[in-house]
Symmetry: C2
Subunit: 439 residues, 2 copies
Amino acid sequence: MEIIINPFIEEWEQLCSRPLFENRKLENDVRSIMEAVHQGGDKVLKEYTRKFDGIEIDDLRIPEEEITGAADFLDVRLRNAIDMAYKNIETFHAAQKPSEITVTTMPGVECSMRYLPVERVGLYIPGGTAPLFSTVLMLAIPARIAGCKEIVLCTPPDPSGKIHPAILYAAHRSSVTSVFRIGGAQAIAAMARGTESIPKVDKIFGPGNQWVTMAKQLAASSGVSIDLPAGPSEVAVIADSSVPPEFIAADLLSQAEHGADSQVMLLTTNEKIIEAVIVEIERLLNKLPRRDIAEKSLKFCRMIVFREYDTLMNFVNTYAPEHLIIATTNHRELSGKVMNAGSVFLGNYTPESAGDYASGTNHTLPTNGFARAWSGVGTADFMKRISFQEITPEGLQSLGPVVEFMAQAEELEAHRQAVKVRLDYLVNKKNLSWDQSIH
Amino acid sequence: MEIIINPFIEEWEQLCSRPLFENRKLENDVRSIMEAVHQGGDKVLKEYTRKFDGIEIDDLRIPEEEITGAADFLDVRLRNAIDMAYKNIETFHAAQKPSEITVTTMPGVECSMRYLPVERVGLYIPGGTAPLFSTVLMLAIPARIAGCKEIVLCTPPDPSGKIHPAILYAAHRSSVTSVFRIGGAQAIAAMARGTESIPKVDKIFGPGNQWVTMAKQLAASSGVSIDLPAGPSEVAVIADSSVPPEFIAADLLSQAEHGADSQVMLLTTNEKIIEAVIVEIERLLNKLPRRDIAEKSLKFCRMIVFREYDTLMNFVNTYAPEHLIIATTNHRELSGKVMNAGSVFLGNYTPESAGDYASGTNHTLPTNGFARAWSGVGTADFMKRISFQEITPEGLQSLGPVVEFMAQAEELEAHRQAVKVRLDYLVNKKNLSWDQSIH
């Protein structure tokens, strides 16, 4: 832990820095896995699952009845919890669905923007100690709302070759088209180009370890769209004395327990808060099964005191945190000064974990300062915009000469001709249809 | 030119294929240019301008008075044309500006989505024989509407070290913050990390040659956001006998004249149209100063006859063209079947060049089939979405147990504690504020 009091602005860059990863070796390893999958298809996928996961699998696809029947294997309280989270996430993401815009930019010139679903999307759900069913909801619900025709989900199997029923239940509820038991860079390779059993998709979503992240990056540079560049998870908490230090300690720890590389920051104008929070962190740490991970992450925790809120908020916007908790009496005012962040949690009763699971907002968010130019995943990410225009003869008579003049200035004569031949027809009142016999 | 009649669906992949570029050497060259700029700053930028462009420049920044005074050096008709294009582009892009959404997902749980500008954006405008002032409008107008604080423009100087007044006038009209005379991969490197005179930006937009494109890709993999992956420009035209072949020929040529690698395609259900269009292409070619370029591109032109419109539209959606012209009597009906395209031009009086310059739609569009998952540039690309949530004590009492249960199932105890410590306070009606003296 590092405590910094009133840092000079020259120190900000260093204070906002994230860990750097050197990854040329990783890149080469991942590239060769992907090439092997592109060449060998399903056979290679099964070989990698044997080699990396130590599991022998016959069929990559999870049978339909296992997905539809997953609910029966779930604790009813967990099922109800998933259902409530589902409803909130659905409500917030349905409200984001954009509608068509039509504008007459000048008489006779009508421009519109339509929003259409990305037809085939691939969702990657990491494996690990616990089933990340919440991420299934966060990706599959907006995909369904957007209207994606094919929603493919890949996730690594457990040692017995199975997928946890909570993942299958969440997938079933959100109308995922097909689920495959395959993880790692090989799963990304499969979705990027397709294999005998796994369909090629247009866009790949979802978190993952550094192998998965590198595979997504390589897929992106070969033309498959991806959701976000990924980095370790982060939280910045702004606190004053209106909030019990215990709340803040729990919030900081809920980020720290994600991984040893999680970034945790406390920002305040009140130095006393820092001491109080540290005491609570020590106390709460004892309750955590993932204490070791949290302690590693806390080593790099920064706690910074600022003289005033304006400076503090400038710092926040420079850092651009993935999660930002504002637990101060003036949280409404400070929230209006947020320029760069992924998701913001306001007031004393809004812990990050609410947004991680069930408030309705998405938990797939920009890390590593990417919030300066990227957004968290939303319904719009499962859609694309297409512009349409239709010009009437009258419209072309007003607009045409402008286009001709600009094309001439850019020395693109055929561009000018495309207008000119049409205006000639209008001036000479020629008949457009030239082959009545076949029209 | 290649004429294909009723292709089998197995042939579609090959018919939809775009040229592939091998670029390992290019990648290494561009990488070393970028590293040199990151290390040497302005001095290296000037060296490269001497080396690549053969121009000696003192000051990279174009003086304010040169920008504000550019209008005086412009033909008044060109100025008026730019002004009219400006108005249409502004009207259509202002209509795209998203507004905040606020939703109560359940009682006491309020989620909202705010749209904020990307603070610092960089626009790259290529050089070449003609000044691409239209691209300045297409990028700077949405940046201004989004509210970007800093709009940096880089463009290579002409042999006398100047920038064309049409570019400066377009930049001035759209409130570009600063203009720099620098081109190529070195300009992208400068904007990606900043130099003494060129500010670092958060997102880079704009077209360019393969050096610029590679530099944008490398910048993207180091965390600077970019607009779109770029490829050669494309048009697909769907025509029936309601449109004079001359119109279609001019449309195909206005794409072909862009570059030898431009992709041009004619799709129809009427074989006779193909013969008629070819005659008109030959006739119009003679009028083109860029005839050589157009002829090279036309070598790869594909003209395909389909038995029926449903198959034709399936093919279009598989190809996912950057520009799609639908010049048929049933264009309204066909437009409803477009799933993948960048920008669509409907009817006989809507040439692509209208959208390239002045109808109001954007001309920075996804090529290379990327329209399956990417959109053309719009106002939203200059903004990011941030989600906010605020939960009341009552809200947390309903939602909290759900979050606790899900956190437990994902084995994240601190996530659960962040809810639990808060619910304990509520149950025990404890006083939150713990240090009245400093509050």
